[in-house]
């Protein structure tokens, strides 16, 4: 088990390092000159040269790369030259929107998707199953950000239950902050809940046909009890993997959904960074996103090994 954890941790670190290298390489083959871009076309060559030196762009790329990586290990993501603030601080301010949003969406998705999946599996082939799967099929096809727009129309404009957009910082008014994340998280959760329902149903249907369910039935449990006590727990394994992947994609998905609700999350920050060609900020924000995705996958793998002892024995050498 320890060997497995160590191997996964090394893999995690290597992935992050390679990702940093890939991001840095892509951004540094950039044709334009950020210093020139910041100062505008009429800037004197001397001023541009000075700014280049100030930004550290006159030094070799490899040196800058390692400086960036070592800086990040100490929590220093560099200095944004358009916002004139540390990148780490800028990102930290935005994470307070993005992470709670992704978490809320995940909770909603699991709370809706899993029970419906179990219900569909228990009523396999019945009208209820068909109806639920048609719903899931539709849910998967709906773009989350468009669903967000429709939710706004109904619940913010029509019924006036919730704010149509904007965000009050948590420290000012936690209740209002929470309320402004409800519609966005519902929008993000719909396709994920649909996928979860389908995966849960398939996994449970597969498990129900297996011998240990028959054994449980033979020792006197009703089918419902057998499925609940033995089936669901076993069926949760594949579901867990999907949920890990989903959380990673939810974090990326917030970037798009934020736009609908005018939320000041990572997406808005990245978007201004891209349009102003703030390389240091884009670098920092993308590596944070990759970190979130890889960390989620790591946690999923470890959780999987914890739940399923067969797996860690097979993977450990």
């Amino acid at each position: 088990m320890t060997a497995f954890i160590i191997r996964r941790l090394i893999g995690f670190a290597v992935t992050l390092f390679l990702a940093a290298a890939a991001i840095f390489a892509v951004l540094n083959v950039l044709p334009g000159d950020p210093a020139q871009f910041t100062l505008g076309l009429n800037a004197s060559p001397r001023a541009v040269e000075q700014l280049r030196a100030q930004m550290g762009l006159d030094r070799p790329a490899l040196e800058r790369f390692f400086e960036w990586v070592f800086g990040m290990l100490h929590g220093d993501f560099g200095q944004s030259y358009t916002q004139r603030a540390p990148v780490a601080k800028l990102i930290w301010e935005r994470v307070g929107v993005t992470i709670p949003l992704a978490l809320m969406a995940m909770v909603i998705s699991a709370a809706v998707g899993l029970p419906l999946g179990i219900l569909a599996a228990r009523r396999r082939g019945k009208p209820l199953d068909t109806m639920l799967m048609v719903l899931a099929q539709t849910g998967i096809a709906i773009p989350n950000f468009w669903f967000g727009m429709m939710l706004t129309l109904v619940f913010a404009v029509g019924l006036r239950w919730l704010p149509p957009g904007g965000f009050t910082p948590w420290q000012e008014n936690p209740g209002l902050a929470f309320r402004s994340l409800i519609l966005p998280s519902l929008a993000l959760a719909l396709p994920q809940a649909s996928i979860l329902a389908r995966v849960m149903r398939t996994a449970l249907v597969d498990v129900t046909g297996q011998d240990f369910i028959r054994t449980a039935r033979a020792k006197g449990l009703t089918l419902g009890e057998a499925v609940w006590r033995h089936g669901v727990r076993n069926a949760l394994l594949p579901v867990l993997t999907i949920m890990g992947l989903q959380f990673a994609f939810l974090i990326a998905g917030t970037i798009i959904v934020e736009n609908v609700f005018y939320l000041p999350g990572l997406g808005r920050l990245i978007y201004t960074a891209v349009s102003e060609r703030d390389l240091v900020l884009v670098q920092g924000a993308t590596i944070i996103l990759v970190l979130a995705v890889t960390a989620t996958m790591l946690v999923t793998d470890l959780a999987y090994a914890l739940v399923d002892p067969r797996l860690r024995e097979r993977v450990a050498p």
């Binding site: 998967i140 709906i142 773009p143 594949p238 990673a248 994609f249 891209v274 993308t286």
Partner: protein, 279 residues
């Protein structure tokens, strides 16, 4: 044809997909009104005999925009499926036939690529080249590569152990020849099914990327870009978002039904649905 009719969802899905493709292709030669035709006097009209889907904030015909946007969305999704399959399938086949170090490298590479959701790739490319539909094609294409590599490897591995492959090996065929002549033809149906799924995911992803301004740019139009244009006024004029949004939903449902149907029709053993959606 008979097999097609045995699967109503396949017939329906393919039929509906075909309708959208035809509407999109038709927009190349004919739209009810020219797409660029701005007529401010006739803006924000509801559906009427002259404008079946109404007009937008510039008085442009919505049906014309949807037709043209459908074509763009399909084109981008299809190109990114080609990129994904074109690079991913050879990688997956190589991993299956050579095994060992090749397989290890391919698997680590696909793991690595999974760490980059399409949005992140799109952000990086947009910083590099500026936003545009090439950006969306590359970003979604890169996302597709590991998916196809995994599917191709999985399918090829199950066939690699069969007797006729062993016979071919005894007959002196090299790994590349076996992959090309024996494995590839046998996993075509898998690839087609996955291609349909990735096509529908690509349509969704294109919509998302264009919506945040990283994909298709004006004067071209796509379903995602229509939603972006409507964003500022959707509270007052919801119709402008409802039309392109529903178009996306219908296209994706049609493609998914076609994909599920193809899976059942081509290979009943594959009945199972666990496609992930990219954000």
């Amino acid at each position: 044809m008979r097999r097609l009719l045995q699967h109503p969802s396949l017939a329906f899905g393919l039929g509906a997909t075909l309708l959208f493709v035809i509407a999109g292709l038709a927009s190349l030669v004919w739209t009810p009104y020219p797409i660029e035709q701005i007529n401010v006097a006739r803006r924000f009209l509801g559906p009427s005999p002259e404008h079946w889907l109404g007009t937008d904030n510039l008085g442009r015909d919505m049906l014309a925009l949807v037709m043209s946007g459908t074509f763009t969305s399909f084109r981008i999704a299809a190109l990114s499926v080609l990129i994904g399959a074109g690079i991913g399938v050879p990688l997956g086949l190589a991993a299956a036939v050579w095994g060992g170090a090749v397989e290890w490298v391919v698997l680590r590479l696909t793991d690595f690529m999974f760490a980059f959701p399409a949005v992140i790739v799109a952000i990086l490319i947009a910083t590099l080249l500026g936003p545009g539909d090439a950006n969306a094609v590359i970003a979604i294409g890169i996302f597709n590569i590991p998916v196809f590599a995994r599917v191709a490897r999985g399918g090829a591995m199950s066939i690699n152990t069969l007797d006729f492959v062993a016979a071919a090996r005894l007959a002196g065929l090299g790994n590349a020849a076996i992959a090309l002549r024996h494995l590839l033809p046998n996993i075509t149906s898998l690839i087609i099914v996955q291609g349909t799924i990735q096509l529908s995911l690509g349509i969704l992803a294109e919509a998302g990327l264009s919506y945040i301004g990283l994909g298709t740019q004006p004067p071209a139009t796509s379903l995602g870009l229509m939603l972006r244009d409507a964003q500022g006024m959707f509270l007052v004029h919801p119709w402008l978002t409802i039309v392109p949004g529903l178009a996306i939903v219908f296209i994706v449902i049609a493609l998914n039904l076609a994909g599920d149907g193809l899976r059942d029709a081509l290979d009943p053993r594959l009945r199972q649905g666990t496609n992930d959606v990219l954000a």
